[in-house]
Each structure stands twice: as structure tokens, then as C-alpha cells.
């Protein structure tokens, strides 16, 4: 065998490591930022690494059946597979290491792939029989129907504009025209940004996890390795969403520093919005997304179709 297969395996591992480290690091920073805003000291930014390592080393005593084993496995499958299909850098840097399966899938595939994990985890949570999990899942899925609409409208707008559905194609379009999609079709960007608030499940859209009333919802019956795997998958998924957003609206990133700057700034939007917000009820949250974000998304599509 030639070298290419080893490079792709190494690239695969490097991508996962990068995503994991950045995702967990951001998680720690969010805790710090939240604490400072609330005038607390807060845990150190590396606290989440300690938590995950500790959880991985724990053994689990009980189970409620097969689906409980499989739930976290589904979640990690979805997040890592999505990661494989996302271009991390936009081709001018060390593209080779992060190429993975970038050219084998497109946005619509990714939309579905990202849901796969939550549904799998929901099945695992379902088997535990915990009513909090079931309520959390019911709320989470309901809210998803809410934010997917402005999100799809935003995606449709930019896909029609660039006449491609592939993420690499969108990056190439932005590089070729030397612009960012967020300036090309600003309405779509706003709709996408508002949908992103829901996607990250920070307040006021933290209805599925609602720590105060649902004991963190779907995850409440998982501990030890299961929880660690779910946290890992959550961290990777956060990274995937951020990079996807940077790729399609901000022209991707040419090196890792730019990637970190862009994703971090983007990440602060839902976090800072969340820190100062109370929680919506589920139906309020759905109606919120079907209100202004959807209207802006529709205008964004019309803008692309009739004005550009």
C-alpha cells in the first residue's frame, strides 16, 4: 500500500483530536465567560478536560438494556461522521491533513447526518424509562422543527446563490468572488444566525435540558463512560456546527488561527445571548423561530431569486 492511506488515517485522527480539543476548550471557556458575567470566579478553562478524563475512567454498574449501550454510540457516530464531511480549512493551508471525506457529501446530507445523533441518543434515553428523559426528548424534537425552518431557508438562499449544494463548492464560490456569504446575502446570514441560537441549546432555547426542572433531560440516566462519550460527542458536534457556519457564511479559514478566531467569535453569539436570557416555554420557542427568523429567511430567499 502507498502512503495515502496512512495519511488519511492520520488525518482522520488529527481531525478528531483537533475537534475534541477545541470543542472541550470552548466548553470550558463558556463556563468561565458565564461565570464572569454572573460575577463569579468560575472553574478554570481546562475543567472540562478533567471532567471527561475522570468520567472515562469510571466503571458503570447498571444498565436498562441494549439501547442504553447503543445511544451514546449513535451520538458519537453522528458527530464524527459529520466531522469527516466538513472542510476544516479552505484549501490554502495544510489541506491534506484535514481533507477526510470532504468531497463525498454535501449540505443536505449533512443536515440529516447531524440529526442522526440526537435521534440515536433519544432512543438510548428512551430505554432508561426516565420520565425526565422522555420529556426532554419530546421538547428537543419539537424545538428542532422550529429552528430547522429558518435554517433551511438560509441554506436554500445561499445554495441558490452559489448554485451548488456542496460545502467545498460554497467555499470555492466565496474565494473566487473574494467575498463572504454573510455580505453577499445578509438576510440569509441573519436567519441562519437566529436558527443557530436554537441549535446550540443555550438559553433561552435550553428547553430540552432545562437543568432546573428536568435534571438535564435526556442525559439524566447516563453516567461514567456513557456520559463521557456523550460529552465528547457534544464537544465535537459544537465544533462541527461552528466550522460549518464559518465555511458557508465566512469563507472558511485559511489556517488554524483564523479558524479559532472566527469560530470563537461566532460561538460567543449564542453564549452571550444565552447568559442574559431566561428560558422560553417549548411552544414559545417554536413560535419564535416560525416568526421573525422565518420571515427574514423568506426575504433572504426572495432577495437571492429576484434581486441578484
Amino acid at each position: 500500500m502507498d502512503n495515502s492511506i496512512w495519511i488519511s488515517i492520520l488525518g482522520f485522527l488529527a481531525t478528531i483530536t483537533l475537534a475534541f480539543v477545541v470543542g472541550v476548550f470552548y466548553g470550558g471557556l463558556v463556563r468561565k465567560v458565564t461565570a464572569r458575567i454572573q460575577n463569579r470566579v468560575g472553574p478554570p478553562f481546562y475543567q472540562n478536560f478533567f471532567d471527561i478524563v475522570k468520567l472515562y475512567s469510571k466503571t458503570t454498574a447498571i444498565n436498562h438494556g441494549w439501547m442504553q449501550h447503543l445511544g451514546p454510540a449513535f451520538a458519537i457516530t453522528a458527530s464524527v461522521t459529520s466531522l469527516m464531511f466538513i472542510p476544516i480549512l479552505n484549501g490554502q493551508g495544510d489541506m491534506m491533513w484535514f481533507e477526510n471525506l470532504n468531497f463525498k457529501g454535501d449540505l443536505i446530507f449533512l443536515l440529516y447526518m447531524m440529526v442522526f445523533g440526537s435521534l440515536g441518543m433519544a432512543l438510548g434515553a428512551g430505554q432508561t424509562g426516565n420520565p425526565y428523559s422522555a420529556i426532554g426528548v419530546s421538547r428537543g424534537l419539537s424545538q428542532m422543527v422550529g429552528y430547522e425552518i429558518p435554517w433551511v431557508l438560509a441554506l436554500v438562499a445561499i445554495m441558490m446563490q452559489a448554485e451548488t449544494t456542496s460545502i467545498t463548492g460554497l467555499i470555492d464560490y466565496q474565494n473566487a468572488n473574494d467575498t463572504w456569504m454573510m455580505f453577499e446575502s445578509p438576510l440569509a446570514f441573519i436567519a441562519g444566525l437566529l436558527a443557530m441560537l436554537g441549535m446550540f441549546h443555550y438559553a433561552p432555547f435550553d428547553v430540552p435540558f432545562a437543568p432546573a426542572e428536568l435534571a438535564s433531560g435526556p442525559a439524566s440516566e447516563f453516567g461514567g463512560k456513557y456520559l463521557a462519550l456523550m460529552m465528547t460527542s457534544g464537544a465535537i458536534m459544537a465544533f462541527v456546527k461552528l466550522v460549518l457556519f464559518v465555511d458557508i457564511f465566512m469563507g472558511g479559514a485559511s489556517n488554524l488561527v483564523m479558524l479559532l478566531v472566527k469560530t470563537f467569535l461566532l460561538y460567543m453569539v449564542p453564549v452571550l445571548y444565552g447568559v442574559v436570557s431566561p428560558r422560553y416555554r417549548t411552544e414559545q420557542s417554536i413560535r419564535y423561530f416560525w416568526g421573525w427568523p422565518t420571515a427574514i429567511g423568506v426575504l433572504g430567499v426572495l432577495y437571492v431569486v429576484f434581486i441578484r
Binding site: 446530507f109 442522526f116 426516565n130 419530546s138 422543527v145 430547522e148 425552518i149
Partner: protein, 615 residues
Amino acid sequence: MNSLLLIILILLGGAVLAYLAKRITPMLSSIVSFLAISSATAVFFTMTSSTDIVEVNIRNFTLEFGLNAYSWLFGAMVMGVSALVSLYNIAYMKGKDRLGYFNSNFTLVVMAMMGILFSNDWISFFIFWEIMTWSSFLIIVYNGIEEGKIGTKYMIFSAVGGYAMLMAIVITNSQINSFLISDLISSFAGLDMGMQSLLGLLFMIAFSVKAAVMPLHVWAPRAYSDSPMSFTAIFSGLLSKMGVFGLGIVLISVFAKSTNSNIIVYTEILAWLGAITGVMATFYAVIQTDAKRLLAYSSVAQLGYIVVGLAIGTKLSVMAAIFMAVMHAIFKGTLFMAVGAVERQTGTTDMTKLGALVRKMPWTFVAALMSIIALAGIPPLGGFIGKWMLYESLITSDHYFLIVMTFLSSTAAFLYSYRFLFGIFLGQEEKEFENVKEAPATMVIPMMILAASLFFFGMFPGYLFEPIANSMEFLGMGQVDWSMTVLSNQWGDQVDTLSIVNSIITIFGIAFIFLGLKNRKKTRYVTTKDIHTGGEIPTENENLTYAVDFYKPFERAIEPAMRRKMDFYYNKFGNGLESLFEFVRRIYTGNGQTYALYVIIFLVILILFSEQIFL
């Protein structure tokens, strides 16, 4: 002997024998029906060829029976699924009443479907179409004709469709002097504009009834959910596809020849109706508490997507529609069979009562899980391929709001998908169902075969693309490009199914070994009462089930859309008709003197106006 006639004869004979066999022992009737359908399947897959043509000339018109690429694809689907369903049927119907009646109609429906597919002329098409309607009607009223007037509703709508088709056929003959389908296609361009629109409208009404397009769908949910499940697997999976089959011929072959530019308005309206059907039926599926009713609404919604694909009419969208039609037959058949198995083992399909059957019926759960993943359109199973192609075709053909509608309904489909699995198989364990056993092997095996085929077509969609491309070429769409594992759209964007499947299997395998296999031995199973409940220890009889009003918040959010059902308008229309009849009845009082008065009035009119009338 001609193989097509042989298939029809085997099935017809099977229907008669199934009725007679009941006299020996009831179960023999189901077995006869299975044997007939499976041997017809064997004949279909081994002996048929496109050269088998039967031609009958009666006076000055021709009746023709034949097989082409398009009908072969649908025939393969019908025969394959119904053979497996009839195997399932043996154990499912065991011990029920009137098996002869049920099984002979069951076989007759399959025969009628094959007859429709083989017909090359509208006369035999119509005859088999009516046989299909009648025999399915007889099965719908299997549980009693008074049961919610389901049968009546079905019959009324089928009659509307049937008359529309008959009218269209007669008009066709009066215009082109032939009943052959191919003659209609070739001479459609020669008809005048009004005639083209009229024919199109009539045929679309006729086929939309069976494909359950809004507003002609109101019969479907109850008819699907209240028939015996082994029939519903065919009813929702295959019989509704006959509407799709007809729509395919009309929308693609016939309309493509049209010179009338208004025809595009029709197809756009139909596409929007399909999308609205999809959204509304999905919303109704979300709020159901009965698993059968949930699946019934979901069938209507899925048919909505298929109609969208056919109506858009680009190469990719038609391919998507036919692919989804086949996939829908497979996964919805499996799901109805799974519900039937649950119903047989537990006696109920109410999701607020059931729960935690996954440990009792693991194989049924696996089959249901695979089908639900396909239904939700999640990769890597076959359902995803169809959804992907539909979205890509919509976006590349500038239907930007249709894509949002279809996306809304398919995202909302996650809700009922999860509800279905959670309500039946997951959640709190119930005392009532402690001793439930897995369904018998003859019921599980057909489900597993169909579920496995979903996985196969998700990995190698090319095996299905080939017959679809052939049939699209037959329909007149020209050469269609396809490849074994790579999907692509007009803009050149691609999805490689094989690398998706590989990636998912690899990562899932690693995680599975890490979690499942290592932890299974180390951990101990505990009941679902042994959970974290915020410090309180639940007692034995405490109810922790979360099943009633599962999606109440969602219901509140969509409440404005749900205020009126289509039934409401039909009832109003019915009431309006009734008051009209009431008025007519007042004229016929039944009193001799009134009639005498009418005669006198008539004579007076005659005398007064005789000059104007007779001159």
C-alpha cells in the same frame, strides 16, 4: 402458455381456492393464498419477458396485455412485498373469523394490481382498477360495515375517482378512436387545448384518490388503520402505489407531449397539493395516540412527497419519486407488519398503554427501527437516498419554497418516528405486558428480510436505479444517468453512499465495542423503576410513564393550523346536499291532491304558452 395470463390465472385460482379451502380448515385458506402469491411471484421473476403480449381484437378496438420496463419495476415491487406479507399473513390471521372471505379478497387485490400493471389499454386498466377497489372495500368492511362509516367514505371517494377515469377513457376513445395507452400518448399533442386540460384533470383526479392527495385523502387514515394489519401493509404500501403508477404515466408520458402551456399550472398545483398533504398529514400523525393511526397519517404524508417528485417532472425528481415509492412500499409494509405483530402479541396498539416491549420483542424492534430510520430519511438507509434526490431536484429546479415545505414535514416526521418507537418499544415497563413473547418466526422473517433490503438499497442504490432508469426511458424521459453508489445532481454535487456507509459502520463499530460489548458483561440489568428521580425512590405501583400528550407543546405551537379538518368541509358539503334533497322531497308530498294540482298547473302552462312551445 403466456406468462402474464398465467400469473393472473394463478392468483385468480388462488382467490377461489382460498375461499373454498376454509371449509377444510380455516388456516389452510391463508396457506393457499400464500402459495398462490408466492408461485405467481416465482413465475413473475423467472418467466416473464417483454415479448409476452396478449392481443384481443373486439370489433373495432384492441385490448392489449403486456409488460414493459415501467410496469416490471412496479410489478417486482408488488410481487416481492406481497409474497412476504402473505407469509406473515398466515400467522397473523390465525384464529380470526371469516378467513375464506378475507384471504380470497386479499389474493384478488394482488391479482387486480398485477392486472393494472399488465394492462396496455384503458379498458382492462379500468376493469382491474374496479376489481381492486371492490376487493379492498370488502376487506375494509371486514370489521363490520358500520365501523365509523370508513367503508362508505372509501367507496364514495373511489367512485369519484372511478367515474373520473371512466369519463376520461370514454372521451379519449371518442377523440382518438382507440383505447390503447400508447395511442393516447402519441396522439395527445393532436388534441385541442381544452380537451388536453380536461383529460389531464380527469386522470389526475382518478389517480389522486388512490394516491391520497389532499383534498381527496380523507378516506385514507381510517381505512389504513382499521383494516387487518396484514392487508394494510399491502394497502398502504402497494395499493396506493397504483395511483402513483397512473400519475407517472399521465404526468410524465402524456403531459410531456402537451402543446398546452397551461398544463404546467396543473403540475405546479399538484406539487403544492402534495407538499401541503405532506405537512398536514405529518402534523396529524404527530398528535395521534394509536400506532396504527399514526402510521396511516404518515403514509398519506409520504405519498405527498412522491406526488411532489412526480409533479415537478425533472429527471432527478422523477427518479426520486419512484425510488421513494419503492422504499415506502418496503418500510411502510414492515412497519404495519411490526404493529400487527405487537397487536397480536399484546392485544392493543394504543401507545399510551404499551411500553418497553424492546426486551420482549427484540426482532420486531430491530425491523421497526430500521424502517423508522429509513422513513425519517436518515443515512445510511434507503430512505435517505430518495429524500436527498428530492431535495436536490427541488433546489436545482428553483422550487425554493416547496423544498421548505417538504423539509418542514420531514423534520416533523422525526417527532412521530420517535413517538412510535418510544411509545411501543421503549419507556417504562408495564406490569400488564410482563409475559409478552416475540411473534412467531413466520411473522418475524418477512419483516427482517424487508428491513435488510432497506439497508442494502441504502448502500447500493444502483441496483434500484437501473430498473428506474429503464422505466423512465420507457416513459419518454430519455437517457438517465445513474451510478451504483454515487448520487449526483445537475449542478455536479455528489454524495458517495459507500463512503458514508463505511464511515458510519466503522465508527459505530468502534463505539459499539467500546461501550456495548465491554460494558454488557460488567453491568447488571435493573428495571426501569430503578432510576434517577430527583431523590425520591419510586414505589412499585407508582406510575412514571410519560406517554399521554407526548407532544403537547408542539400541539400548542401548531394549533392554528389544526383547527379545521378537511372532513369539516366535506360534512358541510354533505349537509348542503341534504338540504337540497329535503327541498326536492317537498315537491313529492305523497298526497294525491298535490299531484293533481301539479298536473293542472302543467296543463295551464301548456295552454297558456302552447303557441310559443309548439310553433
